[in-house]
Structures are given as C-alpha cells and as structure tokens.
C-alpha cells in the first residue's frame, strides 16, 4: 500500500535546510541526528523506536536506539516547559496523542456488518479502512519525529539533560501518564495561566518589536485556528466525495458484469475509471519543518478517481497539517511572549518593591537582589525571545512556501492525470459507439 508520489520535493533537501533558522547549520545536524526508525502499534499504545546518531561526547555510543511511548514524549515536553531556564525559547509543541479510536470503531463496525455485504465489498472496505489506519499511524509517527528533530536542532534545547536521557536510557522511563488528580491540577494551572495571561497582556510593552509581535501573534493564532478547522472540514468532504466515487465504481462494475446488452462493456470501462482497486493514500510528511521520510516505491498511474482520493489526502497533508502544526507553534510562541510579559511584570513589581523598600529603608538588600534577578531574567528572556520570534517567522515562511508550492504542484499533477484518464476513457467510449 505504499507508493511514492513526487518524493522529490518532500525530501528535506539541503537547500531547504538552509532556509531554516540561522541557528541551525549543517554541522550541528551531523552532531546530533534523531529520527524514528520504526513504530509498532499495539492495542492501546504506539511504541516508537527512537534512533540517534551522534558524534557528541555526551553519549556513550555513536549510534543507538531506544523504544519510547507517547507519554514519554509528553514528559519530555513538559520538562522543557517547566524549566525556568528555557523560559526564553519557543518550546517545540508536543505531538498530539495518537488517536486511532475513530478508525478502530470503523473497523469494528465493518466486522459486525460483515454478513450483510458481498465478499468483494467487504475486502474492499477492509482495505480502505486499513489504509486509513495506516495513514493515521504514519502521521502520528511523523509528528513525534518532528518534535524530536526540532529539539535536536535547537542549539540550547539539544543540550538538555532530560533530552539525552530520553534518547539514550534504554529502560522504561517510568513516566506514567497523569492520573486524575494531576490532570485536575493541570486544568487549574491552565485556568490560572490564562487568567494571568489576560492581566499580563494588559501591560503595554516598552519594546515596539514585542508589542507588534504580541498583537500579530494573537490575531494570527486565532486565524490559523479558524483556517485549520475549515481546511480540515474541506479535506474531509473531499474524502467523502472520493469514497462515493469508489462506490459508484463498484456499482458500475456490478452493472457491467450483469448486463446482457453491449452496454456492459461500456459500464465496465467507466467503472475502471471510477474504481479504486486499492486505496492509495500518500505517504506522510506532515512536518513542515521537513524531515526525511519513509520513501515508497512509485506505482503505475492509478485509475482516475483513485486520484480524487489522493487529491484529498494531499490537501490534508499539505494544507491541513501545515495549518495544524502552525496552530500549535503559534501557541508556543504565544506562550513565550506570555512568559516574557510575566517576567516583565515581575521585574516591574520588583522595581516597585525595591523603591518601597528603599523608601522605608527596610529589607533593601533583599529587594535589590530580587530586583536584580528579575532584571536578569527579563533581559535574558527578551534577548532570546527576540531571536526565537525572528526564527519562528523565517521557519513559518519557509514552511508555508514549501507546502504551498508542493500543494499546487500535486494538485496540478493530479488534475492532469485525471484529465488524461478521462480523455482516454472518452476516446475509447466514443470509438465504441
């Protein structure tokens, strides 16, 4: 069920890497390369095989692999977020939880309805569902990979100890998922944070750059959210339309085989056009920051309406996933700004406290040290934040460019393929009559 479709542009070529943020250069890539070489899906969980290649002295070996689960990724992400030192960086957004529920449900329903359809139909639908499952699976692998690669590419984060442990420690990290109590705590924390965020955002920033970034990010984030949702809906309708083509194809085929007149040839030819004998979904690279992906052997041109399914799958990849990823990234950027504003507020409060202390001449030293700390923290954050935000923009522009170009190219390719098939079919049909 694999196929390659214009794999060229999907590959992270050297030039694309050049478009990335300036912190990343080729050398550091050689120093630490992370990817997910394998993944296994079991009942409830997915086990990722994280493979590292590194020339750094910190690691015992140059190349090694460990098995990790989704919770461990989340643990790593959270450890970054909670680490004060990283307050000034955009923390790469955590990969979403692998969600096979919908797919599993469908497979189950299919199993239950097995008696009511013909063997052909059953195998076909089963194949379809399996392909869907595979597609979701590939996507989740890719997203986890993106996360790791971003961390590995970040000059500061890549040095994080937790990260190294994550990569190297070949036992289970014993990171249990959060139990109910902890989830509740998280929930409250989030509420407090957003309330705080509102307060903090009221503070006008001295620095124009940050002020501009803040307004921009706020608006951008909301619009990306909207666009992402709509794009999702669009790709889903596209997919249902493509599925309908599939069913039409099989009905036409049935008509063609049963009909006694010479129209049966006609029907059969048209059903070829519509039919999907196998589901093809394009290989997944949802990572807009681009990573090497599993290459698949290419295949002979498929029937036209298989192309419809491909179109919807490509749209899903290039557009919807892109938007979804940037939704998360812009959230992360917003978080950075929030942290900075928070520290600014703290700094200003510390200043006020210092002034008060000086006025009262009490605990001056304490106030001074705390003010110093706040000042340092704030400045540190500001500095790195500025760079991060600039990088974010560069990354974003590059990613959009890449994906939009690829989207357009793929759409063109599919439309042309479709056109040719339709024209061929018409030629045959017209020739017959």
């Amino acid at each position: 069920m694999m196929e390659g479709l214009d794999d060229g542009p999907d590959f992270l070529s050297e030039e694309d890497r050049g478009l990335k943020a300036i912190n990343v250069d080729l050398q550091s890539d050689a120093a630490l390369q992370v990817d997910i070489s394998d993944a296994l899906s079991e009942r409830d969980k997915v086990k990722f095989t994280v493979h590292t290649k590194s020339s750094l002295p910190n690691f015992k070996q140059n190349e090694f692999s460990v098995v990790r689960q989704h919770e461990e990724f989340i643990w790593l992400h959270d450890s970054f977020v909670e680490n004060e030192d990283y307050a000034g960086y955009i923390i790469p957004p955590a990969p979403p939880r692998p969600d096979f529920d919908a797919s599993r449900e469908k497979l189950q329903k299919l199993g239950e309805g097995e008696g009511s359809m013909t063997k052909e139909e059953f195998t076909k639908m089963k194949q379809e569902l399996e392909a869907e499952y595979l597609a979701i699976f590939k996507k989740t692998v890719a997203m986890h990979e993106v996360f790791l690669c971003r961390v590995a590419a970040h000059p500061i984060l890549r040095k994080d100890l937790n990260f190294h442990v994550f990569l190297e420690y070949n036992q289970d990290l014993s990171v249990r998922g959060k139990n109910k109590k902890e989830k509740l705590e998280d929930f409250f924390k989030n509420m407090v944070k957003s309330a705080d965020g509102v307060i903090v955002s009221g503070v006008k920033d001295v620095d124009d750059f940050f002020e501009h970034e803040r307004t921009f990010l706020l608006e951008y984030h909301n619009r990306v959210k909207d666009a992402s949702a709509k794009s999702d809906r669009m790709t889903r309708s596209h997919k249902s339309a493509a599925d309908d083509y599939n069913r039409i194809g099989s009905s036409l085929y049935a008509l063609g085989t049963q009909d006694s007149t010479d129209i049966c040839k006609f029907f059969l030819k048209v059903s070829e056009l519509f039919d999907k004998t196998r589901i093809k979904k394009q290989n997944i690279t949802s990572n807009p920051d681009a990573l090497p992906h599993l290459q698949l052997p290419s295949e002979s041109p498929p029937p036209a309406m298989k192309i419809e399914a491909r179109v919807s799958a490509d749209e899903d990849l290039k557009l919807s996933d892109l938007l979804k990823y940037y939704l998360r990234e812009s959230q992360a950027a917003k978080d950075l700004l929030y942290r900075r504003s928070r520290s600014l507020v703290d700094y200003e409060n510390a200043n006020k406290a210092l002034d008060k202390a000086r006025a009262k001449n009490k605990d001056v030293l304490q106030a001074e040290t705390s003010q110093q700390l706040c000042c340092q923290k704030f400045e540190k954050i500001s500095e790195s934040a500025k760079q991060e935000l600039i990088d974010f923009k560069t990354r974003r522009v590059a990613a959009f460019r890449k994906n939009l170009v690829e989207l357009a190219e793929l759409e063109l390719k599919h439309a042309k393929g479709n056109l040719q098939l339709l024209q061929n079919c018409l030629a045959v049909l017209n020739g017959d009559t």
């Binding site: 309708s237 309908d244 479709n418």
Partner: protein
C-alpha cells in the same frame, strides 16, 4: 357491454379494444376488490378498471396532494391505474378504437433522426413495418422542449405553468412549430390516459414525474429561495425528459390524447390526478389489491424468455437503485465540499491579511481566491452530477417499474385465460352431468342455457388465449425497444457526464497553474 369488435384489417388484432371490453368485468375476478364490478362507467368504451362514479365534478382543491407517502408505498403500481374522466369521452367514443390510427403498434424501431437502422432483436412484423413507413412517409422527427416556468395565481391555488414547445416535420400535426401552456396536473393527466390505454396491452408507457408536496407548497407560498427555484428547475427538466421519452415511442406518438396535449391551447383540467379525489382513493385501494394479487398468482411460465427477462429487470432494478443512492450521496458530498471550500477560502483570506510577511500574505490571498474559484467549480460539477447522472438513474428506476408493471399485466392476462378455461371446464362438467341425469322437460331448457354458456366461455377462452399471445408479443417488442433506448440513453448521458468532469479538471489545472508562481515567489 362486452361487445367485441372486429380487428382492423391490418392484422394482428387490436388488443386495446378487446381488453377494454372484457376487463371491466373479468379482470379482477380472482382478486379481492369488488369495487370494479360495481356499476360505473356507462360508456361503451369503458377502459380498464377501476372506476369512478364520483369524481368528475369533484371538489377542486389545491393541487397539493397529501398522499405522497401512500403513493410511494405502491409506487410500482402507479401506472396500472387509469382514470375515466368524462372529459375523455368525446375523444374516445368517436372512434372505433381509441388509440388508433391506421398504423398498428408494431414498429419496433422508431426511425430516429440520425439513423434508419431496422435491426432489432425481436421483430414479428418486419414487412408490415416497411409498409407503414412508406405509408407514413415521415422521418421520425419531433423535438419537444419544456420551458419558462411561470407562477400563475396566488396562495394555495397557485400553480406553475410550463410552456411546451413542439417542433416537428411529422404530417400528423397541423403546424410544424407550436407551443402551449401546461401545468403539472396536465402532464399527470396525459400519463394516466396513456397508461390506461396502453399499459395493460403490454406497452411500456414512460412514467410521469412524481408529485412533491413540499416542493410545490414552497413555490405556492412564494418563497423565492434557491431551493424552490431548484425544485422548479428539477421539475421542468423532468417534464421535458418525460415528454421526450413519450414521443419517442412510435405507438404513443400516434395517440390523439398526446396530440391534443401538445397542440390544443385549452386542455380540460385533469382533476382525477388529485389524490384526494374519489379517483385517487380508488387508485390507492386498487394498488393495494394489485399488490396482494401479484403475490397470489402462480403462473406457469412456458416461455423461458419472459422468466429470464423478468429476472434481468429485477437485477437491473436493484443495481440501479444502489448506483442511484451512491450518486445522490456524491451530489450531497459535493455540495458540502463546495460550502466548505468557500468557508476555507474566506478563512485563508483572513489569514493572509494577518500575515505580516508580505509575499506570504499575498500568496495566501491568492490561495483564497483559487479556493473560491474551485468552490464555484464544485458547485457546477454538483449540478452536472445531479442533472445528468442522478436524474437519469431515477428516471430509469421508474421506467423499470413500468416494465415490471407490464409483465404483471401479462400475468393477469394469463390468469384471466386460465380462469376462463377453468370455468369452461366446469360448465362442460355440468353439461355432462345434465346429460346423464335424464330428466326430459327441465333438461331441455337447462341444456340450452348450458349450451349457450359453454359457447360463451369457449369464445372467452379463445379470446383469452389470443390476448395472452398478443400481450406476450407486444411485450417482447417493447422490451427490445426499451433495451435499445436504455443503452443509447446511458451511453449518451455518461459520455456527457464524463465530458463535464473533463471540463472541471481542465479548469482546475488553469487555476493551480496560475497559483504556482505566486507560491514560488514567496521569498
């Protein structure tokens, strides 16, 4: 009442006549319904069935009918019903046989505008056809258009009037181009007249478009929204297809009712098409009776051809229904896709606005425009999906129902014949018993009676046999014709549909090609 008529000289018998006379009494002897036998039509030319004393000046409520559900239950029996409206009498009673012109209904192939091929799978009367063609001297050439839907009247009494335009070179029409205004119930009236005359002798009469309360009510109420305009358009197209199919049938084309429908500027209102009228209710009861009847008739099929064909049509029906369901789903999803694409386009435009990198912003706006155009494309494609593909399928599903109805009529015909034979047998037994009983005085009178009855039934048996053979023959021809039509229809429509798909793809290519340089230009 059962005055038999002479078959016209040309030969194979005018099945229509005989059926009309006899069916009034005999048709439903084996069925439950007693309504038919109840005294009804006083006319000598009473036509098949089930009818009505009450309706002619019945109340004329608004055209809205409330029985769509019930009609759907018995959908396949729709065509079997006919109405006996007083308006029809002047046309019919004046001629020896209602649906006639000298041309007998044997032309299997209607010579079309394009080709005059005479190849057909089943032809019994080749020679006669040739004679008829020469006699006619016409190329089959008639074009019908239904256009200009116009709302007439107000409120619940409002209706849509359609303009029916005919262009023809046929000699039977007085002019070569003419048009009239008709309303939906007129079409239904035409169909029921044709059905009553031809269905029971084995002709496949194309079914009329279905009634729809919801659609019509919206139109009447005056809601000027897209769904009611869509409804009107859908109906207009359906009426056009209906008429075109009807005139393609060589026998139906000769029918004076059809001619009157096409030509005369004033048409008596066909009130019997209203479901709430007495006729309507009668219809429903009869449909129920028919459904029961069908289950009880066990026919010894001597002709394998019929069995085969029936099975084929059964399968075809199933397949078409499935296909139709899928195509309808496609139409629905495509419309959804179009709406979602439009929403996405707007969203992308907003995103482009808020993006502060100018080149990317421009590219995003371009993307939004492309998606908007694509949305339009999808909408148009959805229309094509629907009007070409989906409607064709639903037309054929209804046509196949008509075909099945014709087969059912044949069964009934056989049943009649069987019953006549059984009665004859009984009468003969009675006679034989009488002969043995040996009571001189009473016997003579009874014997005479019995003798008479036997003769009567013998004639009926013969008639039944003739009818059965006739209907079988007609059906064979009709089915052959139907198959040809079907093949042609499907091919034409599917090719047209594929061409529309080709167009869509070409447009898509244009749009994306325009977008690509913009995307590449993002620095």
């Amino acid at each position: 009442m059962a005055a038999e008529r002479e078959p016209p000289p040309l030969g194979d018998g005018r099945p229509t006549d005989f059926e009309e006379q006899e069916d009034g009494e005999d048709l439903f002897t084996s069925t439950v319904s007693t309504l038919e036998s109840s005294p009804s039509s006083p006319e000598p030319t009473s036509l098949l069935t089930e009818d009505v004393s009450t309706n002619s000046n019945g109340p004329k409520p608004a055209e809205v009918v409330l029985d769509d559900d019930r009609e759907d239950l018995f959908a396949e029996a729709t065509e079997e019903v006919s109405l006996d409206s007083p308006e029809r009498e002047p046309i019919l009673s004046s001629e020896p046989s209602p649906a006639v012109t000298p041309v007998t209904p044997t032309t299997l192939i209607a010579p079309r505008i394009e080709s005059k091929s005479m190849s057909a799978p089943v032809i019994f009367d080749r020679s006669r056809e040739e004679i008829e063609e020469e006699a006619n001297g016409d190329v089959f050439d008639i074009e019908i258009g239904v256009s200009d839907p116009e709302k007439v009247g107000d409120g619940m009494n409002a209706y849509m009037a359609y303009r029916v335009t005919t262009k023809t070179s046929l000699s039977m029409f007085s002019k070569s181009e003419f048009s009239v205004k008709r309303r939906f119930s007129d079409f239904l009236g035409l169909h029921s007249k044709l059905a009553s005359k031809y269905l029971h002798v084995g002709y496949i009469v194309p079914p009329a478009p279905e009634k729809s309360i919801v659609g019509m009510t919206k139109v009447k109420v005056g809601k000027e929204d897209s769904s009611s305009t869509e409804f009107v358009e859908k109906r207009r197209a359906a009426l056009e297809r209906y008429l075109q199919r009807t005139v393609k049938h060589p026998t139906l084309l000769q029918d004076p009712d059809l001619r009157q429908f096409l030509e005369s500027s004033e048409l008596p209102r066909a009130v019997n098409t209203q479901a709430l009228s007495g006729a309507g209710i009668l219809r429903m009861v009869n449909k129920a009776a028919d459904a029961v009847n069908k289950m009880t008739i066990k026919m010894n099929e001597s002709d394998a051809w019929f069995e085969e064909k029936q099975q084929q049509f059964e399968n075809l029906d199933q397949q078409l229904r499935k296909l139709h369901a899928s195509v309808e789903a496609l139409v629905c999803h495509r419309k959804e896709l179009s709406a979602n694409t439009a929403a996405f386009a707007k969203s992308a435009a907003m995103l482009g606005n808020s993006e502060d990198h100018t080149a990317l912003s421009r590219a995003l706006s371009q993307l939004a425009e492309v998606e908007e155009k694509i949305d339009q494309l999808h909408q148009e494609q959805a229309f094509a999906d629907f009007y070409m593909f989906s409607e064709l399928l639903s037309d054929y599903i209804r046509l196949i129902a008509a075909v099945k109805g014709v087969f059912d009529h044949r069964m009934k015909c056989w049943q009649k014949w069987e019953d006549a034979q059984i009665t004859l047998l009984k009468k003969r037994e009675t006679e034989a018993k009488m002969m043995l009983a040996n009571k001189p005085d009473k016997i003579q009178q009874a014997k005479n009676e019995i003798r008479e009855e036997i003769e009567e039934w013998e004639a009926k048996v013969q008639q039944g046999e003739r009818d059965f053979e006739q209907i079988s023959k007609t059906i064979r021809k009709e089915v052959g014709r139907f198959e040809k039509e079907r093949v042609k229809d499907f091919k034409t429509v599917i090719i047209k549909y594929l061409e529309s798909l080709v167009q869509t793809q070409q447009q898509l290519i244009k749009y994306w090609e325009a977008f690509l340089p913009e995307a590449k230009a993002i620095a």
